[in-house]
């Protein structure tokens, strides 16, 4: 049979011949029993095939696909609006007078955005360190003969008025204080790696010690946990943190840096810096549960040796006030959703982060981790989404483990991380 015969036969079977051609074909078939039998056999095959109903895919698949679609394809306009709203809220919270130009998103908004850029954050942080050094050194020089402890901790912290840049906090932990104080901001920005903390001049060392813990002992002190209010005062300034961090030994500082990096990964980029800034604005962070930084954050922000104490302290405060993990998770999820809907993604992230510790070890923590992972996925912070998703999937008895794996998978695909993709697929298979 030629190709054209094949085509005519298929056209006949699928009713794609013109009416007159089909009629002619059938007339020909009536004269050829073999050909007719063949056509009938084919039509019988098609009847068999068509007798089978189409299968329905599981409805749960739709939910997963749609969740991904919503996460990935959030309208650009909405995102822009949310960003504008968030920036407006941040500007308001920093007590900066909002100019009409900024409200309109004009030159003021551009300038504000530029000032808030990570690079500028680093530069401002370094500049703040220089300011601290410049202000503190003369005072220290004057106090050469004065009794130790005259310098009030709060008085030295000029930096709360300096708004930290988005990435100031993690960077400040890496910024060698001596370098930050002794070099210009450009040099400080250039130095990506933390250098060995070498003993500086005696005056600088004394200033550093005072910032870290009050009256200067003769040597750099082992880290004593400062009062909570002191942590709050010291935290907002990245430079102050850097100077305080310098009183740590190299090993302790490294530990703090590692912790900060972990948190940066799990909470996403500049989350720490924002948490720092927000907590500082709250004034007395440790006085209420709501304002208390999450224990992990507190641990990372505290100078290295204080990490454990800070973590234990914040955890204790949170645990004392919030006994029911499920209720905490529900409240946090509700609040986070409201914040997210209002465009305050950082607020949503902060709310959820604060719920992690008090829900620890329960399936409710899985919910919180899942929500955080989803948030990070929406923000295209894929490493953070992967890390949080994996943590959520690992929570014992967490019924949303499959969703968590989906998020890991989506983030892994989006970021091209084949190893994480492999993990997700293995995890999904193990769930089956």
């Amino acid at each position: 049979m030629s190709e054209s015969d094949d085509n005519r036969l298929v056209d006949l079977l699928y009713d794609e011949l013109l009416d007159e051609d089909a009629a002619a074909y059938r007339r020909a078939l009536s004269d050829d029993p073999d050909a007719r039998a063949e056509v009938e056999a084919f039509e019988a095959v098609l009847r068999t095939v068509r007798a089978e109903a189409l299968h329905d895919p599981p409805a749960a698949l739709d939910a997963r696909i749609l969740a991904e679609a919503r996460a990935v394809a959030a309208p650009a306009l909405e995102r822009a609006a949310a960003r504008a709203s968030r920036e407006g809220a941040m500007a308001g919270a920093r007590s900066r007078p909002g100019s009409p130009a900024e409200a309109r998103g004009g030159l003021g908004a551009w300038l504000a955005g530029w000032l808030r850029s990570p690079r500028m954050g680093l530069a401002l942080g370094a500049a703040a360190a220089s300011v601290v050094a410049a202000l503190a050194l003369p005072a220290l020089l004057r106090r050469e003969s004065a009794p130790a402890g005259d310098l009030e901790p709060g008085a030295t912290v000029v930096a709360p008025s300096v708004s930290p840049g988005p990435s100031a906090s993690p960077a400040s932990l890496e910024q060698p204080p001596a370098q930050a104080a002794g070099k210009g901001s450009r040099d400080a920005v250039r130095s990506g790696e933390a250098l060995e903390v070498s003993p500086g001049p005696a005056k600088v060392r004394r200033m550093r010690d005072e910032l870290a813990g009050g009256p200067a002992p003769s040597r750099a002190p082992p880290h004593t946990a400062p009062p909570a209010s002191r942590i709050v005062l010291a935290e907002p300034a990245p430079a102050a943190n850097a100077v305080a961090g310098a009183s740590a030994t190299r090993r302790e500082a490294d530990r703090a840096k590692r912790k900060a990096r972990e948190l940066e990964t799990s909470l996403g980029g500049d989350a720490l810096a924002r948490l720092d800034a927000d907590d500082a604005r709250a004034g007395s962070a440790a006085s209420t549960v709501g304002a208390a930084p999450p224990p992990e954050v507190a641990a990372a922000r505290a100078p290295a040796g204080e990490a454990q104490k800070a973590s234990a302290g914040a955890g204790a405060v949170a645990a004392a006030a919030t006994p029911d993990p499920a209720a905490i998770a529900d409240r946090a999820l509700g609040e986070a959703k409201a914040r997210s809907d209002a465009g305050d993604v950082d607020g949503a992230r902060r709310t959820l982060s604060q719920a992690l510790q008090p829900t620890g070890g329960s399936p409710a923590q899985g919910q919180v981790l899942l929500a955080l992972a989803r948030l990070e996925l929406e923000q295209r912070r894929y490493p953070a989404a992967i890390s949080l998703g994996k943590r959520a999937a690992a929570v014992p008895d967490f019924p949303g483990a499959r969703d968590a794996i989906e998020i890991v998978e989506a983030a892994a695909r989006a970021s091209g991380r084949s190893s994480e993709l492999g993990w997700a697929q293995r995890a999904r298979r193990s769930l089956r």
């Binding site: 049979m1 190709e3 094949d6 085509n7 036969l9 298929v10 056209d11 006949l12 079977l13 699928y14 009713d15 794609e16 013109l18 009416d19 089909a22 059938r26 078939l29 009536s30 007719r36 056509v39 009938e40 056999a41 084919f42 039509e43 019988a44 095959v45 098609l46 009847r47 068999t48 095939v49 068509r50 007798a51 089978e52 109903a53 189409l54 299968h55 329905d56 895919p57 599981p58 698949l61 739709d62 997963r64 696909i65 749609l66 991904e68 679609a69 919503r70 990935v72 394809a73 959030a74 309208p75 650009a76 306009l77 909405e78 989506a410 695909r413 989006a414 089956r432």
Partner: protein, 245 residues
Amino acid sequence: MTAPSTSTPAPESEREGARAEPAGPPDQAPRTGASGRAALDEQRAESDRQDAALMRAFQRGDTRAFEQLLAKHRKAVFNFCLKMLGDRAQAEDALQEVFLRIVRARAEWAHTAKVTTWMYTIARNHCLDGLRRASHRKTASLDQPFHEGEEQGATLGERIPDTEGLAPDRAAESRRLRAKLVAAIASLSEEQREVFVMREYAGMPFKEIAAVVGVSENTVKSRMRYALEKLKAHLAQAGIRGDEV
């Protein structure tokens, strides 16, 4: 028969309607005639326009448009993947992957292309990749345990679902037929199977199948002819005649 002649596949409801109406022998087959075909073509053109409008809306960020696209095509794409891959779990993964690729690559869709052509190109490529990855394995036997090493597990034939609502004897018979049919379709070459499945399970016209597969329409029809020939032989060997159903 109410199979489409040109343009895009019909909406799922139409396709199901077409499938629910079995074709008769040549001289008794329900004919749509020229006017019927023209009406169908117009419906399909409208369906194409709808798809394009939904896709454009989705490109602008309207996720509800994507939801509608998904609702409209999920079943057909799933059945295409199911028949291509021969495994429900893999078909579920494939369905998810196809639509996720659409989500991620939405910006790449050109307004001049048919959404369904693009969609099935993605689905076909995904299925072929899956088949090639698994090419070291033999074609699954319907009587072998579904998972290797499972002595007691359900067989592939038993895993073929959807016999709810049938009387037990009818359900058993339906399962038997389905199992044979799955095996028959699995026996087709990839080239024949994709053409057959796109036409029969996704309701795509030959012209569009040709665009997806990247060959001429005549070649598509020729592959279809051979696919039918092979299915006929396979089903006859299995003792199934068309008048059984």
